[in-house]
Amino acid sequence: MDKITSQDQLKELQESIAAKRDPDKTCITICAGTGCLAYGTQKLIDSFQEEIVKRNLQDTVELRTSGCHGFCERGPIVVIFPKKIFYQRVGLDDAPEILEKTIGNGEIIERLLYENPVNGEKLTFEDDVPFYNKQMRLLLAQNPEIDPKSFDDYISNGGYQALAKAIGSMTPESVIQEIIDADLRGRGGGGFPAGWKWDATRKAEGDVKYVICNADEGDPGAYMDRSLLEGNPHSILEGMLIGAFAIGSTEGYIYVRNEYPLAVENTELAIAKAREIGLLGKNIMGSDFNFDIKIVRGGGAFVCGESSALFASIEGRSGEPRAKYVHATDKGLYDKPTTLNNVETWANVPLIIDRGSAWYQSIGTEGSKGTKIFALVGKINNTGLVEVPMGTTLREIIFDIGGGIPDGRTFKAVQTGGPSGGCIPAEHLDTKVDFDELTKLGSMMGSGGMIVMDDRNCMVDVARYFLSFLEEESCGKCTPCREGVHQMRLILDRICAGEGKEGDIDTLEWMGQAIADGSLCALGGSAPSPVLSTIRYFRDEYEAHIRDKKCPAGVCKALITYTINADCTGCRLCVKPCPTQAITGEKKQLHVIDQDKCIQCGACYEVCKDNAVTVA
């Protein structure tokens, strides 16, 4: 293909691709995001490919492998365009049947349809599925519609038009003004206005300026950045290109977690293609704007998501943060003016330039505009990626979209903000989710992880989990974080082991405050949040551990006993899994657990089909 040297040429290219495509042609789209691939979807893809050839359907049926559709709970997912027939939990050898019945005879396969859990109704079309139709998908909209490895797919969906608009008919200043007017706030956690950052970097002195995309996604329970980069890499490149044009930068980096090989692969391909076609490199679209992007893989350290640590890591050093009296916009990577934004922040940019700040302003709340993608995970029926306008309530997200709590259990708390965030209890389910409201509740937006917990989750244990995560991830540079988090974790260990003392809660509280105040970077600064927020809302649970030596949720091993109740049918299912042979009893008779032998491994609880094992 020739290089694109003008806005008109891009338009022509788009039209020529569109002309070759028939929007009414049947297209079988298979989700090939990391989640679905983990179900073994590659086998399904291969079998579709084979069967299509075998049945000589190449001319009438198109096969597309796309990025993550978001409804990971129901994978493998197959959507048949143009009607968007929605098949879920598709078997790995269902391809022949789908081709035979649905493609061949227009027959719907009942078994593969999604059943509305509320009324048992089988839903045929994706647009009818509540998980999707209650969302507002702007950033994720294209994921199911394009093959991330196909440049043509992105172009035919209007790709790079926003870049063309920026270069062709806007000045760098007016692009920045548009982003400022849109009130785009950073999606990586802090919520800092992106436009201001761009403006400061543009105005900073220096001939070399950097633009960086933060795809380190360290929050252990969030994966929207991965899905965007993996499913629609060109949209991130386009965002960065627009940013670089506005800022006056010629070099960009994408810093991506090493654990995301597919994201790296797809992004590398996208960069190569963009170079080939002249969208990266010199004189982009015939202008005097030059820009190129390199990918850097992270080394698996949470702290490297922090801006100054990230710069250190790109420079090949170990990722230790530095004090923030110098702004990255003045001295960032290699001490040059730098703009660092999160993947999702970059993904918003082409939309804003394309549709204008007034449109963007119309979505969201007073202080938080646009949509936000959440990774809805944990004890939730519909695990997946959910994109909603800012201001949607927790209840809508968890119950209307997420389908509530599985196994008839009750909602206890939702954890937002990752290791820097906090747990929000049921009484605040009607909170409208945006940057400011979550902060008021003692949690934060963070990158958008939303971990739902039920009555079988212990809040002390969850707090301890985050602390030990942060203890491991602390870079160790400053004492409050390195030693303080460790000491807090030891106290929590004691509490969970049944050795809590009166006064422990107070100690945790003042220590947490001291760590927050005294740490150099935000890792230490927010490390105590999971503890402080659980104390705030679940103090009684801490007290139960300390005073009554009980774990009400039945999690902390030292404080629980497993017993078998009268519902036991003597089925013997639990006898063999018990690693210490603690369970005895005749067939069809009530069984008993020898408490001296029991090591609280939970194996019996897990296998019992009659709810006859009780934990208390």
Partner: protein
């Protein structure tokens, strides 16, 4: 080994800034970072060995010890944690008689925990030599370990 490392470093044009990717690639080739390899990287890239150690020990992705033939990675991300991963960790540790992060003496198994693999819907997730096993619990872990033990016995027999 020397040639392997030379060719990796060549790929990055001998640029010191690419130390982390160089080490990543070396580990991919050799399964871990042996001392000789680090010495070679040090002399070819002309960076002090102390500096390489600092970087290699800072980042979790690097291992300075040999790793087992069967590599088990259990996701310890938040979503998996709240779905009962701690019980599975205890179980694997008990069965293999090693702690999380360790390798069995016979170099058969390495058991590691990792942070979110981005497939939370399938949590708890165990990855064995790259293959995903979803919705793990204690019973399924037992079965998986038994199967692996059987396979490793077979391969032992094959060798002798």
């Amino acid at each position: 080994m020397e040639n392997t490392i030379k060719s990796i470093i060549d790929k990055y044009e001998g640029d010191k800034g690419f130390l982390v990717p160089v080490l990543q690639d070396v580990q991919k080739e050799l399964n871990y970072l042996p001392r000789e390899a680090l010495d070679l990287v040090s002399s070819i890239l002309e960076v002090p060995i102390s500096y390489i150690f600092e970087v290699a020990t800072f980042y979790k992705a690097f291992s300075l010890d040999p790793r087992g033939r069967i590599q088990m990675q259990l996701c310890k991300g938040t979503a998996c944690h709240v779905r009962g991963v701690p019980l599975i960790i205890d179980h694997v540790e008990r069965e293999l008689n090693i702690k999380e992060g360790e390798t069995t003496e016979n170099l058969e198994y390495t058991f590691e925990t990792v942070n979110c693999l981005g497939a939370c819907a399938l949590g708890p997730i165990m990855v064995v030599n790259g293959e995903y096993h979803g919705q793990m619990n204690i019973a399924k872990t037992s079965r998986l370990l038994k199967k692996l033990a059987k396979e490793s016995e077979k391969s032992e027999e094959g060798k002798s």
